[in-house]
Symmetry: D2
Subunit: 156 residues, 4 copies
Amino acid sequence: MSDISELRSTFKPRNPDYQQRVRDSFERQGVMRLIGAELSRIGPGEVDIRIAYTDQLSQQHGFFHGGILSTIADSACGYAAFSLMPADAAVLTIEFKTNFLAPADGELLIARGRIVKPGRTISVSHAQVLVTKNGQERLCATMTATNMTIYDKVKE
Amino acid sequence: MSDISELRSTFKPRNPDYQQRVRDSFERQGVMRLIGAELSRIGPGEVDIRIAYTDQLSQQHGFFHGGILSTIADSACGYAAFSLMPADAAVLTIEFKTNFLAPADGELLIARGRIVKPGRTISVSHAQVLVTKNGQERLCATMTATNMTIYDKVKE
Amino acid sequence: MSDISELRSTFKPRNPDYQQRVRDSFERQGVMRLIGAELSRIGPGEVDIRIAYTDQLSQQHGFFHGGILSTIADSACGYAAFSLMPADAAVLTIEFKTNFLAPADGELLIARGRIVKPGRTISVSHAQVLVTKNGQERLCATMTATNMTIYDKVKE
Amino acid sequence: MSDISELRSTFKPRNPDYQQRVRDSFERQGVMRLIGAELSRIGPGEVDIRIAYTDQLSQQHGFFHGGILSTIADSACGYAAFSLMPADAAVLTIEFKTNFLAPADGELLIARGRIVKPGRTISVSHAQVLVTKNGQERLCATMTATNMTIYDKVKE
């Protein structure tokens, strides 16, 4: 399939401050600091998160651990959905599935989350996770995630 | 459903040193040290991994991040499969899916990985992830994972 | 893992007529008649659906098609969730995932759907699909499904 | 995301007769005749399957049953993978996951299966399922599927 980063989003944000809201929520995710992840793109229904390799992120063969891929892809999908939610809403993950296509062997990992179907209660997003080694980018995982909009229970 | 920890495994390990092999491979997963995870059970087709809460593992509401749940559940499932593999085999994750059933709000998280179907090439495992708060244990996520046995490509 | 059919449900139905409601809804599923499926158990949070083999249900090797397994497992999970819903609610499937563990080679297929986590809006169920050949029952697939309770949009 | 049907495949078939092999295998799937499905496109790594609505394919609200969506999407993904396999290989489904985005309410259903990552043993495909009502086409489900190449066990 073509590179997901070229796909144009046609979704309109309902909250003009959606970028700041995504940044504020991301800052509260302690795990993102722990693993050294950063937001590298915030568009309407489109969020990228990237992370540089360190030995602290490895599985047993010295590649990025699948859980780390899933951690940034989960947040990229969740924030892609969150970017289209109203200003008073919070977001939770209902489920996600990750397919590992190639070893995540490289210096840089990027998860590109894109909304597939925004909804009042249920949103579905897709992510591609790419790893860069010696300047070559390679698709190493995909995720499909279901997120739920919460209107009153949890403070974002 | 009943507590998965009560289910008796009837699988026989093909490698008598399977516990040591799981421990050795786990030690090489840098991410497990980073997040403070530890192996708390290794049986034939049965591996538990647990982790204590710190703010460094949080999502935006102060609960364990879904990616952290998935990280320990992925390893618990992978090592449950690995424990039944021959001595010269390595294990890779093909895919996993996580369903989040309740907020992972608590002091201690434990992922109980159990083999469902071991196979020569493809194994399927299931994990329950439980969170303990004020002494009360609660099921907060389930995972189904598919692992592949690698016989020559990667050194475990 | 142990046989899922032995696991005792502790869930209480909120609608005393839940069995009749499940039967009525099942009768409206045209596809169940087409493929010859029948309800073989309705308990609180527990629904079994079974089907006898015919060549009309085959994939290319003469086994039950994976789509047929998923069709009855989807309904078994959905009705397991539906059995615990209030009398005015309807049920929709948000997503499901099927893992195929062994060829569905046999005369009889049974999907055992069991609720894992009932919720006001979101419920999660698990199914085991077993195939019987020459009197031997074998686990051939598992499913995890997420269902949504609909309170006003769709008439069940 | 953009329409998956516009994405160009760059994969080369290893078997020049791949279209005939897909057709021959499809003909052996009894369930495709039962539900009235037909192959509407066979390219390298790209297979479409469509089906017209009848009451025999319904769930309880009169829409296409989710199991029927999954049945044609499973075959579309499996044959997308199969189209790139060598001439002596057979294909099995390891797992698939379906997300339901909108009711499958309409006259015509089409599943567009596209290979994401072909592999010697493991291939991953993605499908979009679209429903047409009054001439309007709408995305109603997506699937990610993992297929396995079998070289000697099963005759295709």
